[in-house]
Subunit: 364 residues, 2 copies
């Protein structure tokens, strides 16, 4: 394909099915992280779609979400054709979703390129991001190749998988492309430290590019059973045949694309991206990315902080007063209140689990 | 008077006009501390009246409050005759109130004894308290005498006035009565320490007993102008003549009974009381007096505390989750939320002042 043509075949697959608990009580099953306006510029989902605009228009964007939140996703993304906003009837991790998406795109465009993007991340440098996507698309153009958008690690985070890269293979419009030697799972801290120190590892942020046909070929080789199921579903009408989709989709194995495909194949290339990426994994991260007052508090207008420092306050209804408190996360909704040490905000999920065990499902 | 007769002449004057800010956001101008159910056994006001039951029946109880809260006081105390629940049209501190009350009681009973009690204190030993009241009434029976119920100090508190006592004068039904040498104002810490170490000082908790006639004689001597105003008001119908009362009462000087009378007279006796008294001056005090869970948290049923210790949680509406927080006061109402370090809870009043200055009077 000529360069211009490549991008005309680019389709985004936005993964918006997450139902995380780390932003409880603001995030709920019916209102997950990707639908939060954490930074006051629309939801993370809307930002994800808006960022693509110069490269991939709404007509070529697919959103995969779940039945609990589809209506809200549609409301937030009126520009995307309704048939391209798919509610999965069950949570089956990323491999089945991407297999289904590949069939949908292939049906429409035999040369279609899939750009896979989570809907709940922050990217501070959108222009850089587009440059990376362009280089990634050009790299993935060749049949058989897979591209992972690797993030240059800034700390030995144990919450991500890493990819080990070999020699630099190309430089496309200033963007370095490496050969990937290995996909790894989330490492323990000591290993993560080694990874970062070596300079040969990138974070795997779940952003991939490949031809739809390439992905399906890889399914056929490495997940033949799932490949058959996917083909059967596609023949029966795919996501358009709602009844069949609802019946067949839950039969898929629950497995991630990393484990099902990426760790098993060899022709992978990585774009080493410096795009201000953040997966916004906790209230502490939201705090670090938000504007602060002169006492380093992130707080709403209707609040008063007396000798209080470093607090993150979100309140939907109440006027909030703090006196002499430091480094707290305070989040109030209509029916719930969280008060959490900021450096413990990664444990909010634990608390939500405890809530569920204690029988307070209504709060989830 | 014979002993039995003494008590038949005892009238309680419950001072329920307070409008403190230390329990914000639970306490508001229209819902002050004495109307809070801080310990889940009725309001402090109701407890104050209930404690008196064996000694002073409702027919002989007067409650002085303000116009903002009179309706709620009436609702809480249906057993007290409506005419005896008086709403002052302006806040004039305790001296004018007690002068008015003395006239009311004297009109009804020339031998009337006034038992003056704040409505917003906790008394953990009600039987002891009644014993002290009985001894106090017997002591105050003699015309010209004033009795202060002195509290044995348990710490060098700088928030109370103290009374210095001389030799023990009597022992009535096991209750020691001392001659008072001096009333003092709230002392600085070093002085308070000396007071407590000396063993000769008692806290002045604002509880007094005297004949109504004795008080008015003292007004005539030490506050002649106010005595004239009081007499004029009484002649015009007192609190029963609502219009006159509303017009005349605001003309009184704003002055405490301690300053107007007690510091100026000599025939004062003190009952040294050990009655589990507490003026409940802050959320920290409520915490110390409340039942705690195994992690020393005071919290409602609809809450979950994960690795959290020593917190005081009051929530009217929300389910509260805490993660990794220590020694906080968390109080949520319908429109406001306070998060305060427990050892800073004496500064809640400051925060409320700041709220008022910032123009948020609706929250007060």
């Amino acid at each position: 394909m000529a360069r211009k043509t490549v991008f005309a075949h680019a389709y985004a697959v936005v993964m918006a099915g997450g139902s995380g608990t780390r932003f409880w009580p603001l995030s709920r099953r019916q209102h997950p992280k990707q639908l939060l306006e954490l930074f006051g510029q629309g939801t993370l989902l809307e930002q994800t779609v808006a960022r693509l605009r110069p490269l991939i228009p709404p007509e070529r964007i697919y959103v995969y979400t779940n039945e609990l939140v589809r209506r809200e996703v549609c409301r937030r993304l009126p520009q995307i054709p309704r048939a391209q906003i798919v509610a999965e009837p069950a949570s089956r991790n990323t491999a089945p979703t991407l297999g289904v998406a590949a069939h949908e795109i292939l049906r429409r465009d035999p040369q279609g390129l899939m750009v896979v993007l989570p809907a709940d991340h922050v990217i501070a440098k959108p222009a850089e991001f587009l440059r990376v996507l362009r280089a990634g698309c050009e790299t993935a153009e060749k049949a058989g190749r897979s591209v992972v958008i690797g993030l240059k690690p800034t700390r030995p985070d144990t919450g991500f998988g890493y990819v080990r890269v070999g020699a630099r293979e190309a430089r496309i419009a200033g963007q370095e492309i490496y050969r990937v030697e290995k996909f790894t799972e989330k490492p323990p801290l000591a290993v993560a430290r080694r990874y970062v120190a070596s300079g040969r590892y990138l974070w795997n942020g779940g952003m991939f590019i490949w031809r739809a046909s390439t992905l399906l070929e890889n399914f056929a080789i490495h997940q033949p059973r799932m490949a058959d199921q996917l083909a059967r579903l596609a023949e029966a009408g795919g996501v358009r045949s709602t009844k069949t989709f609802r019946r067949l989709f839950p039969q898929f194995e629950k497995i991630s694309i990393d484990y099902a495909i990426m760790e098993k194949i060899s022709d992978i290339h990585a774009a080493a991206a410096d795009i201000g990426w953040n997966d916004v994994g906790s209230w502490a991260v939201v705090y670090s990315l938000s504007a602060k007052d002169h006492e380093a508090n992130v707080r709403p207008a209707r609040s008063l902080c007396l000798e209080s420092h470093g607090n993150m306050i979100v309140a939907k209804r109440s006027f909030v007063v703090t006196v002499g408190v430091q480094d707290l996360v305070i989040v109030e909704t209509d029916d719930a209140l969280l008060v959490c040490a900021r450096d413990r905000s990664q444990d909010v999920g634990k608390a939500v689990l405890a809530l569920e065990k204690a029988g307070f499902r209504i709060l989830l």
